[in-house]
Amino acid sequence: MPAPEFMMRTATLVFVMMLAPLIPGIASRTRSILTARRGAPVWQLYSDLWKLLRRGTVYSRTTTVVFRLVPIALLASVLVAALMLPLDGRSAMLRFSGDVVAFAYVLALGRFVLV
């Protein structure tokens, strides 16, 4: 893959990841409009994330190293799943026979570590 195209694709990926928190925002706003409530603003998740990133972390004494590794693994699985989607109108970066199943199972990996 030539360098400029690689840059483009990485940029797309980053863009998609940045855009992701907007979707739940839109969904909840739509729901609140439909039920005639005022509801949270569309940008709610961004401000939540910003606030949480500035806070410290508290680990429970009953938890194990899993508790620290899970967020990393979860984010990684979502990122790799995103690699397998045809994002910007071109074919996906990772593409092979049976990739539908692989896509589902990468997301399952995320589920597994989450629960």
Partner: protein, 657 residues
């Protein structure tokens, strides 16, 4: 072949050593070394056969004066797959077994070790036998050896009952096999498998009978629903390294037998393929469902073996359908997927059984409701167990994913074909459901047993499991990871073996090209991407932690002052909502109270069908008891009347001609 014989004789030597040096440290060490050396030596020819693709039917003929013609042994690609699984699991389980048996001072360890080594020999002979007589001989040796292994802890009534159920079940299977081989041998010149393979393309009625009898005879050993009933009690009662061998290898011999019959009678008809696919699907779904209901960790794992046998059968059924409808590449892929899943299941199920055994030894219980928080005390066991559970669920980048994904691909490809084969794609949602339920089940096991805080005040007899208990599962876990990350290493040989079963021999380059075509390389890229993304995110997280420090505290538990272990989620409660969906099929009895929720699993087949019928047979047998009363004159009369009856039969038959 000579190497294999050398390996087998080392195994026999190991058994002799452990018998002659009873209960000595040095004897045990020598035993473990000899078994590992024997397994290593035996694996060499198997790997050679599998990677070169040329069947090394190097024939070992023991004099023709033996009953049943020549006793022929040899390795072809099909036996090679099972030999590799056998020797891999066998070596790891034997080393572990030395550590495992040392925990129990009341049960003498040497009979178990000696039988274990001999059982490995019997299993190797079963998969290498190339004629009826040696096959059946080794088969019986294996059946009896495994019953004695179940009875290692014969002081427990549970083990005695399991042994009884097992021996009855296995002999019912053997009976079906006798009938099957008798039918097969009717039309062939001698009793070697090569003669059978050329001789049995005749009557379709005989073929139907042979294939059905094979499903019963080998099905009892493989343990798919509804023939699985012997499996959970036997796996739970046997020592853990023996359970690993049972689940990893012994039940796979049933799969081996089915595939061997396919090579003997040629491409099976379509109905057989559909039947196998259906049996596989129902066994996979019911197996995982019943697993979810269990509290005994080893019974739970045993039901997962039922599930995985189901997945293997699905691959096999798809393969059989592929050859029945004239799609050879589909047949190769299906059989290859089944074989790869066989190997993979042997690896990860052994890890899980060995891990469960370590838990049992250190806590004295297998009941998950009493366990908890073990990750802190046995971190290495937990690590291996976590890898094993991720592999059995089938998430990338582990080996379980590779083979389940191959099965999925076979089914999808079947869906694209023009004929009735298309319907096979309907099995896909079933397989997906199995994956989901397996995920829930292993989250339950991993979460309840290893995470959280201890649930009961069971003292740990030792602080750490030690290297003997932790080492072997960790080695197997590493193999799982390698296969999961670099499937190109194992896919071509499995496709070669699949081609062998399908009757379409493949050369290594062709198999390599086929493996590349199904996307073996992309799996590696996927694994690399996962690792890369995880490291990247970890680095960023480290960065963040430097600016905002982390601290530790108790779990916030609402307004309670003292969080207690009883407040945790239990295994019963975790599984309850899922099990409720399936109603009576899930096989649990539940008790609800104001503050109590309790469920107990029941085996629908064993308790609902087999045991009642057993009672009927027993009553019928009692009627026959007056025949046997120890009077010599009576017995002489029986002999005479039998002779007279046989003579009369001969007379009538001669008259009929």
């Amino acid at each position: 072949m000579i190497l294999l014989l050398g390996g087998l004789s080392l195994l026999v030597a190991a058994a002799l050593v452990v018998v002659s040096m009873r209960n000595q440290q040095r004897g045990n060490a020598m035993f473990a070394t000899l078994v590992v050396a024997g397994c290593g030596l035996g694996m060499v020819p198997a790997v050679q056969v599998l990677y070169s693709g040329t069947a090394r039917t190097v024939v070992l003929v023991l004099g023709s004066t033996l009953p049943g013609g020549d006793w022929i042994f040899g390795i072809d690609p099909l036996s090679a797959v099972f030999l590799i699984a056998l020797f891999g699991v066998g070596a790891a389980a034997a080393v572990y077994g030395v550590g495992y048996m040392a925990f129990d001072s009341r049960t003498p360890a040497w009979p178990c070790h000696a039988l274990f080594a001999l059982e490995l020999v019997a299993l190797a002979l079963v998969v290498c036998a190339q004629a009826i007589m040696p096959f059946m001989g080794a088969w019986e040796l294996m059946a009896i050896g495994s019953m004695l292994l179940i009875l290692t802890e014969y002081r427990h009534a549970e083990a005695r009952r399991a042994g009884l159920i097992y021996i009855v079940a296995t002999h019912v299977g053997t009976l079906a096999l006798f009938a099957m081989f008798a039918l097969l041998a009717r039309t062939s010149s001698d009793w070697s498998f090569s003669a059978l393979a050329t001789g049995t393309t005749s009557a379709s009625g005989a073929r139907i009978a042979v294939l059905s009898l094979a499903l019963v005879g080998f099905g009892v050993k493989a343990g798919f629903v509804p023939l699985h009933f012997w499996l959970p009690p036997a796996h739970a009662a046997a020592p853990s390294h023996v359970s690993a061998l049972f689940s990893g290898v012994l039940i796979k011999v049933g799969i081996y037998g089915l595939l061997r019959v396919v090579t003997l009678v040629g491409p099976p008809p379509a109905w057989w393929g559909w039947l196998v696919l259906g049996l596989g699907l129902s066994s996979a779904v019911l197996g995982v469902l019943w697993a979810l209901a269990q509290h005994d960790i080893k019974r739970l794992l045993a039901y997962h073996s039922v599930e995985n046998i189901g997945i293997i059968l699905m691959g096999m059924g798809a393969g059989a359908l592929g050859s029945a409808y004239g799609h050879p590449s589909l047949a190769i892929l299906g059989y290859g997927a089944a074989l790869l899943h066989t190997l993979n299941h042997a690896l990860f199920k052994s890890i899980l059984f060995l891990g469960a055994g370590a838990v049992y030894r250190l806590t004295g219980t297998r009941n998950m409701e009493e366990l908890g928080g073990l990750a802190r005390r046995m971190p290495l066991t937990w690590l291996a167990f976590a890898v094993g559970s991720a592999a059995i669920i089938g998430v990338p980048p582990l080996n379980g994913f590779v083979s389940e994904w191959l099965v999925f691909q076979t089914l999808f490809r079947a869906g694209f074909s023009a004929d009735a084969l298309r319907i096979a794609v309907l099995a896909v949602p079933g397989l997906a459901l199995v994956g989901g339920l397996a995920l829930a089940c292993f989250v339950k096991v991993g979460g309840v047993v290893f995470l959280g805080t201890p649930r009961s005040s069971r003292d740990l007899t030792a602080s750490r499991p030690g290297l003997l208990l932790d080492g072997p599962p960790l080695v197997l876990a590493a193999v799982c990871l390698v296969i999961g990350c670099l499937p190109i290493l194992v896919l071509p040989p499995m496709l070669i073996a699949g081609g062998f079963v399908a009757g379409v021999p493949l050369l290594p380059p062709e198999a390599g090209a086929m493996a590349a075509a199904v996307g073996a390389k992309e799996i590696s890229i996927l694994a690399a991407a996962l690792a890369l993304a995880a490291t990247g995110i970890w680095l960023i997280a480290q960065r963040l932690h430097r600016t905002v420090p982390a601290r530790q505290s108790e779990t916030w538990s609402g307004a309670y002052q003292l969080p207690s272990a009883r407040m945790q989620y239990t295994a019963s409660s975790f599984a309850a909502p899922l099990l409720e969906i399936f109603g009576r099929l899930s096989g649990v009895r539940t008790h609800r109270g104001a503050s109590v929720f309790h469920s107990e699993p029941v085996d629908l087949i064993l308790d609902g069908v087999v045991v009642p019928w057993w009672a009927v047979i027993e009553r019928a047998a009692l009627r026959l008891r007056p025949l046997q009363q120890g009077r010599l004159s009576r017995y002489l009369m029986y002999v005479i009347s039998t002779v007279v009856a046989l003579l009369a039969y001969l007379l009538v038959r001669a008259g009929g001609r």
